[in-house]
């Protein structure tokens, strides 16, 4: 079996997941008293999708690399790992939030439910290390939809 030769800093992933959960919660709960806060959901979708295709634009990860890590606020946790499944999971979260954004005005219940679902999955990954997006990535790789790395 090929062992990954790349190193992924899992602290960056945790900061990213914390950012997702916090942003959705602020939009969800804050939206009760101040509806314009719901704009955070389409903004988060943009941040996640941009970060998937251009890691230098991944806002939460950049906060970690430029602010939290250099100041010792969050310690790095490098793990031999592949970045692709994590990027795939982040992209999937971004797609779900983009769909949620489309529903926020016409059918707010669907938009809010999809956003909350993304936050729940990010929380499960943050708290228990179980990445649903990575499992979907494995299934797609197994079925040959995504090409397995040689």
């Amino acid at each position: 079996m090929s062992t990954p030769t790349t190193v992924v800093d899992h602290s960056a992933l945790k900061v990213n997941q914390t950012g997702i959960v916090a942003t959705v919660l602020v939009a969800f709960i804050g939206g009760i008293v101040f509806q314009p806060l719901l704009v955070l959901i389409p903004l988060l979708a943009i941040v996640l999708l941009l970060g998937t295709f251009a890691p230098q634009l991944a806002l939460f990860k950049q906060i970690y690399f430029k602010v939290l890590k250099p100041r010792g606020i969050v310690q790095p946790r490098p793990v031999l790992d592949r970045p692709e499944p994590h990027n795939f999971a982040q992209g999937l979260g971004g797609v779900f939030l983009a769909i949620a954004s489309l529903f926020l005005l016409p059918v707010p219940v669907i938009g809010l439910a999809l956003s909350l679902l993304v936050a729940v999955l990010a929380f499960v990954n943050l708290a228990f290390g179980y990445c649903v997006g990575c499992q979907i990535f494995f299934q797609l790789e197994r079925r040959g939809v995504l090409r397995a790395r040689a």
Partner: protein
Amino acid sequence: MSAQLWALVAVGLIVLAAASLENLRSRRARRLAVGATAAPAQEPYILYFTGDSCTVCRTHQEPALARLGAVRIDKVDAVADRVLADRFHVYTLPTTVVMAPDGRALHVNYGYAAAPKLERQLADARGRALSAATA
């Protein structure tokens, strides 16, 4: 407020439905996989299905397997060795299978399995092997 409340109810129901489906799927896969065969060995051993996209395998499962001591662990790439993975209905990573010495699967764990759980399953496999040898 009511939109948030309904969204919360909807997500609660989705999570509950997903957990129930996962439970059914894992029970069905376990039922089909127990008894499937692989290579025989002198002692009970573990088939460990993993893949290089599985992070939890490296961060949780492998340290748990390392705590088991002197047990043979056959590491299988579930993406590369699809035939073996399909035989044990591997649908999630990691998957660990406790094998009897005659090569039959006794216990199948889909998802992370902690060391104490694997130790109990290995003890059961050793007990069964001993009763079979003395019978």
